[in-house]
């Protein structure tokens, strides 16, 4: 999914870079509103895990592979804005591996980071509203949201391509091809995301941002009942 240099013209790439920089500034601000000491290493782990799993291309059709984008996964684990920051870090590091162009970094941060994390989380939150409040609903919502986020990411690329594509092509055919193959990749994304969220829910459900409402408030409420004792 990484856009190389050259696909999209310089002006559109520069505009995307500005938007991405603004997005990161907003994300740092939003994240700083709730992040605590415990979440700093968790966000580091989330980014590192996404980097690792992005290396694991899986086959989707004859001669075609796909890999995790990870924005929805990161968003469900650490929060939507923090998730976008995690993928942004992954993309910056990947540039040193010649994966994803340098002038295309902003385009990629928008498509693979912000669209998947914010869009994926919005779908996740919407599904959680209509599904019963239990663990299996969270796993199911994660999978569906992650799968949809890949298609949204492909659509975001198509918008950029329509605005600033460096080639003259019939856009309709590119759109159908992008959506078709990324719907298949989305199945893999959904399965990996659901499995990972399910795993973390099984080990440490309290660490999953998207499952905060399930955590029983053990730490604060019982103590208020015994607060009479002298301190």
């Amino acid at each position: 999914m990484h856009i190389p240099d050259g696909f999209i013209n310089a002006g559109t790439s520069a505009g995307a870079a500005l938007m991405a920089a603004g997005g990161v500034a907003v994300a740092v601000k939003k994240t700083s509103q709730y992040v605590d000491d415990r979440q700093v290493p968790l966000a580091g782990l989330t980014a590192a895990f996404v980097f690792a799993v992005q290396m694991l291309n899986f086959p989707v059709a004859a001669g075609t592979s796909g890999h995790l984008l990870g924005g929805a996964l990161a968003a469900i684990l650490v929060g939507p804005w923090a998730g976008a920051m995690c993928v942004t870090v992954v993309l910056i590091v990947q540039a040193f591996f010649a994966d994803g162009g340098i002038t295309a970094l902003g385009l990629n941060v928008l498509d693979m980071g912000f669209v998947t994390a914010l869009g994926g989380y919005a779908i996740f939150a919407g599904l959680r509203k209509v599904l019963p409040r239990k663990r299996s609903s969270i796993v199911l919502s994660s999978g569906i949201a992650a799968g949809a986020s890949v298609v949204m990411s492909a659509a975001a690329f198509f918008i950029q391509f329509t605005i600033g594509g460096n080639v003259d092509l019939s856009p309709g055919s590119v759109l159908m091809a992008m959506l078709g193959v990324h719907a298949l990749i989305g199945i893999g994304e959904g399965l990996i995301t659901a499995a990972t969220v399910g795993l973390v829910l099984g080990v440490r459900p309290d660490l999953v941002y998207g499952a905060r409402d399930l955590a029983t408030p053990l730490e604060l409420s019982p103590r208020t009942g015994t607060a009479e004792s002298p301190s």
Binding site: F7, V35, A43, A48, M55, F58, A98, I102, V181, D206
Partner: protein, 112 residues
């Protein structure tokens, strides 16, 4: 913060899993072009891609230059990437954490 050490254990275990995936699974990843590259080839805009500015970097294309063995080269490159990603994310989130400090000392774990 009775969970602090258990959270540390979780992070260490997660990192070990990431390293294991990079070292032992990534050499078996599917080598075919991904969705975007496939579409670019089929639709005829693949050649619009230009040379990567860091194409000569010692880690380009997930290979450690100088390590001959394919699988080992990819696995080691992945491990280096995991470390760099972890460190960079840690730094960025530590900045976000610091920004919060002034108004957070009394209340803990507050969520809007």
């Amino acid at each position: 913060m009775k969970n602090a050490s258990s959270t540390r254990l979780f992070v260490v275990a997660g990192l070990l899993l990431a390293f294991a995936l990079a070292l032992f699974v990534s050499p078996f990843a599917n080598p075919n072009p991904d969705g975007l590259n496939r579409v670019a080839m089929d639709e005829g805009f693949a050649e619009a891609a230009t040379e990567h500015d860091l194409g000569d970097s010692p880690l380009a294309d997930y290979r450690v230059s100088g390590v001959e063995h394919e699988g080992a080269s990819k696995g080691l490159a992945g491990a280096a990437g995991i470390l760099a990603t972890f460190a960079l994310a840690l730094g960025l989130f530590a900045i976000a954490r610091k920004r919060r400090e002034p108004d957070t000392v009394p209340s803990k774990g507050g969520q809007a």
